[in-house]
Symmetry: C2
Subunit: 627 residues, 2 copies
């Protein structure tokens, strides 16, 4: 009798287990072999497009190299935050999928032209693993400075056969598959360090644009509404090309009219074209998705970010490696990762964020400007930045804060979201469950107070890239530990900013511990390694409950930490040395600067740097001492 009972329980367990397995793997396990490798797009897409009738639980690829062309790819007009609006072309449009694993089994996917390798929208529990993403031709170009001539103010640059080009009316255009770019945004890399060149700000960006001289009756165009001077139409007005390019011999070009210092011989200049055109092909685009996992994925390149996630929750990136291939200096042409309006958990662990042309990550929400009061419960909002067009600020029942930054960095009131009508990319009508407060004014901002994540950045190598390491605008809990930072600008930037990018979120409950900071901020900016800053120049508190503990700062220059508008910061157990790697750029600087803050505590730190004055402070904390 006992035996029978035991058998029963085994049976029940077996059934439960099977049921659970079936729920998670309700669909076919698809295997693609290298027979499709010449253009994997049509076969992969054909299977994806029938998944509604014939579900898939897993897609595996026989280990190999697969090419993906756009010609027979699925196409859809797509707005992507912090990217340009694009006609996205995809072999893997994962829209409305649930419980799917894609396993490259060590394969490499090579993309051709303007494609988005992984687009995941409105999905749930998606895992991508064991795959390497690269492009046949990069969206940027890299050339070596081979000569410069102070007398004639020219420099010569050589491009390898990897970078076809032509000259149109003295302007250099790089020719790609289905794409091209001009010099546009540029920066120097040091090929010995395979990192951004020391003091590159003295040399770059190269000055591609100047004011035009003849303009007639432009002032007679009267716009009725506010116009974004950075929009594609407006930004070119009153501007013209400044540089003149001449081919000396095939592959070698002379550049005239540069206005900064001439780039040193031997440096590598990377250029990626105009800012409003060059973010068009991120490797991963995730939006409206709950539970997204990346395991052991390498992104060698993308024409945009490695991963851009919007309005998603629980994103776990374990072993997401952004680093260049083929001897290139550059990996992705924008941020390695970027999270907008995400919630739940965001985890970046055991990752590599190397050589990308923008931040390792940027975590923030969005401000939208109230421009119309349309009724008792409705407003019309304007989306401020061209690369946020169409962004949905939240979902039903989210708590939306009303913000007037001139008065406070925190919301003065809040409402419950009922409905968003997208009228156009720049304009939405938002209705709330409650009446608008009487003090709401046109010009105020809205911010989603819920759409921020718990953030963990752990055991990551963040180095050799342009711009920041981490850009944190996250009022929820953030833990940054055991990482290595060596970045061109701030290792960690904590801003409140509203007037340019419209990226919301004032950091709080932020812990930075056990990290190593090696020679950050080496491109020439007079700024700290970790920096708290607000756009609005006032003494209001923006940041709360910050801990910076047990880190090592091995920095060539003085400035380590800039604290501003902070309430509650502990700086404890940190070791600061001078690395001697580069000449000091700002030897007059202190190690730490404190402004408009309160409850800041220094203890048990070790300072072996070169600053004459370790701590510089304003009137906000007159008795503060570095210890």
């Amino acid at each position: 009798m006992r035996k029978i009972i035991a058998n029963w329980s085994v049976l029940i367990l077996a059934i439960i287990s099977t049921t659970s397995y079936a729920q998670q793997n309700n669909g076919e396990q698809v295997l693609f072999t290298t027979s499709i490798s010449e253009d994997a797009t049509p076969a992969v897409l054909a299977r994806i497009m029938t998944a509604d009738k014939n579900p898939i639980s897993e897609i595996k690829f026989e280990k190999g190299t697969y090419h993906f062309y756009p010609d027979k790819a699925y196409e859809r007009f797509t707005r992507i935050s912090n990217h340009d609006d694009v006609m996205a072309k995809m072999a893997l449009p994962l829209i409305g999928f649930k419980n799917l694993v894609i396993d490259g089994q060590g394969s490499t996917f090579i993309y051709h032209g303007r494609m988005i390798p992984f687009l995941i929208e409105g999905s749930e529990n998606i895992t991508i693993q064991n795959v390497t993403v690269d492009w046949a031709m990069s969206f940027h170009s890299e050339g070596t400075i081979v000569a410069n001539d102070e007398k004639n103010n020219t420099f010569d640059i050589h491009f390898s056969d990897e970078y076809p080009y032509e000259i149109r009316n003295e302007q250099l255009i790089f020719l790609k598959e289905y794409y091209e770019h001009d010099l546009g945004q540029s920066i120097l890399y040091d090929p010995e360090r395979k990192a951004i060149a020391f003091n590159t700000e003295a040399y770059t960006s190269i000055t591609t644009i100047r004011n035009s001289k003849v303009q007639h009756n432009f002032d007679k165009i009267e716009y009725k509404y506010k116009v974004d001077p950075r929009s594609k139409v407006e930004k070119v007005r009153g501007k013209e090309n400044n540089l003149r390019v001449e081919e000396l011999k095939p592959g070698t070009l002379r550049i005239y009219n540069h206005k900064k210092k001439l780039p040193p011989v031997g440096m590598i200049m990377v250029c990626k074209g105009d800012q409003s055109l060059n973010r068009l092909a991120p490797a991963f685009r995730v939006t409206g998705t709950d539970s997204f996992n990346i395991n052991n994925v390498t992104v060698h390149h993308a024409g945009g970010m490695g991963l851009i996630a919007e309005n998603s929750s629980d994103l776990i990136l374990d072993g997401f490696h952004v680093k260049p291939s083929n001897g290139r200096m550059v990996s992705t042409s924008a941020d390695a990762t970027h999270f907008v309006g995400c919630r739940g958990k965001v985890v970046l662990k055991n990752c590599t964020f190397n050589n990308q042309l923008d931040d390792a990550t940027n975590v923030h929400g969005t401000y939208q400007e109230i421009i119309d009061i349309l009724g008792e419960k409705s407003i019309g909002v304007r989306i401020g930045h061209a690369q946020q067009q169409g962004f949905t600020i939240g979902k039903v029942n989210d708590t939306i804060g009303l913000v007037r930054l001139a008065d406070s960095f925190f919301a003065y009131s809040h409402l419950t979201l009922k409905n968003i009508k997208e009228i156009n990319g720049r304009y939405q009508i938002i209705t709330f469950k409650e009446p608008l407060p009487e003090n709401l004014k046109v010009g105020d901002l809205i911010e989603n107070l819920e759409a921020y994540p718990e953030l963990l950045v752990q055991n990551c190598d963040i180095s050799r890239n342009r711009a920041r390491g981490l850009l944190i605008s996250n009022p929820k809990k953030t833990l940054i530990e055991n990482n290595f930072f060596s970045t061109e600008m701030e290792a960690i930037l904590v801003p409140v900013e509203s007037s340019h990018w419209f990226e919301s979120g004032n950091a709080a409950n932020l812990t930075i511990r056990n990290n190593t900071f090696q020679d950050n901020q080496h491109s020439g900016h007079n700024r700290g390694v970790i920096r708290f800053v607000t756009d609005d120049d006032n003494n209001n508190i923006a940041f709360k409950n910050i801990q910076i503990i047990d880190n090592v700062f091995n920095q060539f220059d003085n400035m380590i930490l800039e604290i501003s508008n902070v309430d509650g910061l502990v700086f404890e157990g940190n070791k600061i040395t001078n690395s001697g790697t580069f000449p000091m750029l700002y030897p007059e600087n202190p190690a730490i600067r404190v402004k408009a803050s309160k409850d800041v505590v220094f203890k048990k730190n070790e300072y072996k740097g070169k600053a004459e004055n370790i701590l510089e402070k304003d009137d906000s904390m007159p008795k503060l001492k570095f210890r």
Copy 2:
């Protein structure tokens, strides 16, 4: 008793009548007053967007002038045949409407920037009446030639305050609301005749583009699939700006490097920017709509066509007047009307098609190229022209012809359409109900054999415009009667063409009667007033059953009629004179040329022209005589 019965029948009639009225007018009669005239967009759009819950039968506007701005307009990515793909901005997105009348009651609607005034999709029985459409700033620019200098090969041009501009790197850019254009496509207008200048081809287009001189490794870019050399990315390769522009004084500019004859002083040069960028804002876009009526509508301008209709049926335009305002030379910047894949009846009566920069109408279908055989019943097709991207060739059960133009202009087989999957703008997967025939080959074309209309063009004034009057590729019945034609190129062009525009349809059952043709083809082309022509140089029959009867040709030059690849044409009762309006350009020409045709009959015509040899013919009809 009789009275009661009589009353009953009256009552029944009344009920029927009311029911019928209710069906046709099932919804609110909306009236907008001039209180919304400063920007009518938000109010009109708000009402349209609630029409699903609160239906509308009629929208009336109090007579007045209404401005429509794009800032708060509904926006959607939209592909429009023979236009560029656009982010369409609309105050009146009529999508899925039924039985709706929009009555301007004599109002004028003024649009600002890139908008589509009337977008009608998937609708039924829609009428637009009594409204005038115009734009605050035109999408083209007009300047007067004020000097030319043969010695230095320059000409000077003056632009009024209506046309703000700037010069960027010696290139002239016209600045508009939310838009700009360069010189691009240009042509001369004669201000005295308010029509295209005589012999303008000798002077225009002005030569804005030349080959660039430096190109390196472009041949190393290997495309796997066919690329459209006219696509936006490809067309600029190997090209650069040719002209140099200098401001002499505000409003007056000197143009260097023009390669044709210098434009004569006093002529007006109109320019509309690059061909792949300048068709973005048609006044009416109609697609997938059954029964569409326009009554008494004037279109003074549009950045594209006056009306572009696709895949619609029964379109009746009665009193559709395309003509310029404000002393401008130009009305719409492309065709006045254009019909692609339309069926049922298409009627243009009592219309004015003046001063537009392309044809008065163009009626055709679409060829798509078979590039993949994907199974027993499925093919992959490529859309050949960038401005046909996303075009849907037909609906379920349509008869689709298989065409191999090298062999015949007529389909060699046909299949029944089952399903179309749009993969991307250029590529679709089409499935048929029957298996593909064995002789189907990659490279063959498909054509919808049903999607052509019965066409009537009656009592229209077609004059003062660039390009053709009517471009007819319609194998169904076409009647063209009682019209006045005075156009820059052919009054009536009847083509089969496949290699550039991919516009299908070989004309048949075409009657042209009682029209007056006055000085057409005056821009310099050596072509006839009415012209039948095929792209493919062979003797196959393309056109059948043509009647050209009782027309008056009052033409300054000799060539009246070019017949090629025709089976069955009667040319009867026509009167041909020489107008003497302009000098003859091609005095050596005959009046009529016949090639590769059969069953052509001339009778009872009157010839008072100047051709020494009235009829020129090849071996196809050796005994043919003009009578």
